[in-house]
Amino acid sequence: MRKAVAAVAVVAASTVAALAGNNGQDFAQIERGRYLAAAGDCAGCHTAVGGADFAGGMAIETPFGKVVAANITPDRETGIGAWSDDDFVRALTEGVARDGTHLYPAMPYPYYTKVSRGDVLAIRAYLTTVPAVHNPVTSDQLPFPLNQRADMAVWNKLYFHSGEYRPVAGKSAVWNRGGYLVEGLMHCGACHTPKNTAGGDYLDRPLKGYALQGWFAPDISGDTRRGIGSWSADDLVTYLKTGHNRFAAATGPMADVVAKSSSKLTDADLRDVATYLKDQPGLEGEEEAAQASPVDAGNSQMQAGAAIYTDECSACHTPKGTGVLNLFPSLAGAPSVQSADPTSLIRVVLGGTRSVATDQAPTGPAMPAFAWLLDDRRAAAVLTYIRNSWGNAAAAVTAAQVQSERADLAKRTE
């Protein structure tokens, strides 16, 4: 009891100290910076599991190797305490560190470049208030020649397009606010936009889905089958706020994004994001012909899949694939189930997963692992069944795809 009282006193004292230490910096600016840092999910990379806030040390997996996030606390020696505001702005918007070296685009400066200087400075103001932590970080662990940071100058010439977000004429203020967040701080495309072999975005296929870190970040365009076109704006807001809606549960890397970032945004901002995303054109015209009709329910893979589904899946996801709201995602009509790339589905079936828990939806229900029970052919069969039942239609999953994902999963430690 005594301790609880004492703890409150300590918190109060440190808040006062922080404010005083900022030489009268605008409290409102700091709070705005806190909010924007959440929108940018800075903690998602710069706070290691079990580590101090923003003290770095989290290894970020890229197709080229691991990049370790920097210490961005105000520590002068190992953090960014010695940086000027301009240094900070240049790092965020140009991908160049204070010492002139190039950052890797694992730091999403190709997106942050779209953020206004005012917003960047607010984030800076907020970061000056977090406790300084002495934590030296060796940030890149890439193999040669990728560890040659000078190469990034070439990369930037090819794939980096500097400059603040420019509102699109003819679109509403709501749409443009959504675009500013999606294309800028929220850097959705960093995972959801397909990339070329050099890691540059395919600008003609924005937000159409991309496989990374053993997951497939699904299409989040307005595509009605694979994207979020069939979701209402409310569905999307609910998903980003709580991690769950009637179609989906956030899991894998998206669980972290919801927990640390999108769940902290205002409903108004999330609604703007929804408006923007739902208006992004899908791939309907391009690939629809190939996948519009489901795999024949009479084929042997579908029949085996149906039997497996009955025995192992229906007790949670229900016999008709409709799921239970906020607990077991609906498989019927779910875009992620019908993704062109089944990586996430295979991974979830083999390894199981826990969905995100948020204040609004604290349950964090988990799906058990089936790798021990379902061999490659059986896992492929049940996934093919799920992707082609109850109105769903998507390419069959092959045993080879499952085999490859099983091998990848075995190497992972998380």
Binding site: E312, G352, D359, A361, T363, P365
Partner: protein
């Protein structure tokens, strides 16, 4: 050498139902809390997945989820003078282990006790006179009334999402519910579960006989539910793997499915698993707890200082820890002095097996849930005039068949069936689908007696070298008469249902530690109005050590004719409320001794 940990506001011993409830309630106050749990962390997808949880051998027969007797057991004897021997494998009751405690493996039958159960001695004395009570009975009033507990029953039911039909809403009797229940402030949070054929047949026969059948209140939910903590439960799928098993689809109320997700979001809460508390530490005067000592799975001993200690283990282990920590005095049946170990009770279960014509009846007993069933309450507590019968107590009667798991079901065969061979095989084949076999059909009360008690065994030790608890218990005539009476009433209903043959199984003495009854062991550190006849005050606070609270059925002065978990949950909320509203403002005794 014990290593000392930083002080906590609260140390909770055991993370089952009551530990989870107390942790959550006190975490709301901003207190820094640690819960020390003997068993492992357990959760739905990792420990009880659909793909392998329906395994009768592993979970029902080999007891995978339970505490292992090698960790700690008890010794048992029927009477003074007999040598107690260790329980080498569990039989009469099952002891939970790990996060969620018995809340993981229970059937989820979520009852309230009757108002008169809480004032039992004064009520019976007033109605029948003191001479009507059995000699040597030590039944008592609880020190808390039904009306005081009602809001807390309500909180537990809304936490769990209990599926049921109200029988008495604010004093108005409701059709379809239990007309004998105490007045409830609001309906059950979810409607009753559906009933399978056998249960529906029971309800019809009972109604035809003039009884008022009602669905058993169930923590296996009839529909998806979001509880007040925001935690979601799913709908039950009637798989018939509830008791002894963890639930694979989030549809059975347990700490895992109702509290732990919300509790783990609190930064001021920490759980330590596979750490066993070996002692509650006291100051020199012996009147103030200074914390707990526990041993982790590597053998390292730790001292955890704490301002407030809450003992939330299973009844037996709460009593053992009190005794080993030197809190209170061990009860002496000869002098009646000492409070720790007295009023030890269990449950008096009985049944009758109904065999039906296999050409006319297909019961599909495997389509069930742990708390499915239709019940009548005409013969519970003091709902009927005991005068002509010469016993006190009673129980609910019901067709509450929780499963059709075959290793269990093959116990139910017509009289005269050989135990093996071709005739046995044929009888198993002929009767499986057409037999009504409800292990808990007559859920009898178990009242307290001078001689039924717990103390420490002089010979047998646990793995830490600590003396085992010694159970001395037998069923007095009163309990056996009651059991025979209930069994006869149940058998009459089976007959009305159309059974062609009925085998009655009334409870017979002596108490047998190998025959499963229920896991409802009660008493040993009971609550009451004054320290002369109780170990805990009405708020479950130790009379001797006021910064120690003891949860669970340990506090029941005697057991009623219902499953105890609803009352255990209500008492936990009641106690938590007293701690939050009164104790934290002014730490010290909440009732003057």
């Amino acid at each position: 050498m014990a290593r000392k940990l930083p002080r906590k506001d609260v140390a909770i011993i055991g993370l089952g139902w009551t530990g989870s409830i107390l942790a959550y309630e006190l975490a709301q106050e901003g207190l820094d809390i640690v819960a020390v749990e003997r068993g492992p962390w357990r959760d739905t997808a990792t420990d009880f997945p659909v793909a392998y949880v329906p395994d009768e051998l592993r979970y029902r027969i080999r007891h995978e989820l339970f505490l292992r007797p090698a960790q700690v057991s008890v010794t048992f004897r029927n009477k003074e003078g007999q040598e107690a021997l260790p329980v080498r494998d569990w039989g009469a009751f099952m002891l939970g282990n790990g996060a969620g405690g018995a809340g993981v493996h229970w059937n989820a039958e979520t009852w309230r006790f009757l108002p008169s159960d809480f004032t039992l001695r004064s009520h019976l004395t007033q109605r029948y006179g003191a001479a009507f009570l059995p000699p040597d009975t030590t039944i008592q009033d609880w020190g808390v009334t039904f009306d005081e507990l009602e809001p807390h029953y309500d909180r537990f039911e809304y936490l769990c999402g209990t599926s049921g039909a109200a029988g008495n809403l604010k004093g108005v009797i409701q059709p379809g519910g239990n007309p004998f229940e105490g007045p409830r402030s609001q309906p059950y949070p979810t409607p009753p579960q559906k009933q399978n054929f056998g249960h529906a047949l029971f309800a019809k026969a009972a109604a035809d006989m003039g009884y008022k059948p009602f669905p058993q209140p169930s923590g296996n939910l009839s529909q998806a539910y979001t509880n007040p903590l925001g935690v979601e439960l799913g709908p039950c799928t009637y798989c018939g793997y509830c008791e002894w098993f963890g639930c694979a689809n989030y549809s059975k109320a347990s700490p895992q499915t109702t509290i732990l997700p919300a509790l783990l979001r609190k930064d001021n809460f920490t759980a330590r698993t596979e750490c066993e508390v070996t002692r509650i530490n006291l100051d020199k005067g012996g009147t103030h707890a200074t914390g707990v000592t526990f041993v982790d799975s590597s053998g390292q001993e730790w001292e955890q200082p704490a301002e407030l200690v809450i003992l939330c283990g299973f009844q037996l282990w709460n009593v053992q820890l009190l005794m080993l920590s030197g809190i209170g005095r061990i009860y002496d049946p000869n002098t009646g002095e000492g409070q720790i170990g007295r009023n030890f009770t269990h449950q008096v279960m009985s049944t009758a097996i109904g065999f039906f014509d296999k050409n006319q009846y297909v019961f599909n007993p495997f389509i069930a849930s742990g708390a499915i069933g239709m019940c009548i309450d005409e013969f519970n507590g003091d709902n009927f005039d005991h005068g002509p019968h010469g016993f006190i107590g009673g129980g609910y009667i019901g067709q509450v068949q929780t499963n059709g798991r075959p290793i269990e079901m093959i116990e139910a065969l017509p009289a005269g069936t050989p135990s093996w061979g071709a005739k046995w095989k044929q009888a198993v084949k002929d009767n499986y689908l057409s037999t009504i076999y409800s292990g808990g059909a007559c859920h009898g009360s178990c009242y307290s007696y001078r001689q039924n008690r717990l103390d420490l065994d002089p010979t047998y030790k646990d793995r830490f070298g600590r003396p085992l608890v010694r159970m001395t218990i037998d069923f007095p005539d009163n309990e056996l008469k009651m059991s025979a009476f209930l069994t006869d009433r149940y058998a009459e209903i089976l007959k009305a249902m159309g059974a062609k043959e009925i085998v009655k199984k009334p409870r017979k003495g002596p108490y047998d530690v190998t025959q499963y009854q229920t896991s409802h062991l009660c008493g040993g550190a009971i609550m009451g109005a004054n320290p002369k006849d109780s170990a805990l005050n009405r708020y479950l606070q130790s009379w001797d050590v006021p910064n120690l609270f003891v949860m669970g059925a340990t506090a029941f002065p005697q057991n009623a004719g219902y499953n105890p978990t609803g009352t255990v949950g209500a008492l936990a909320f009641w106690s938590a409320s007293a701690i939050r509203r009164q104790y934290l403002k002014k730490p010290g005794p909440l009732v003057d001794a």
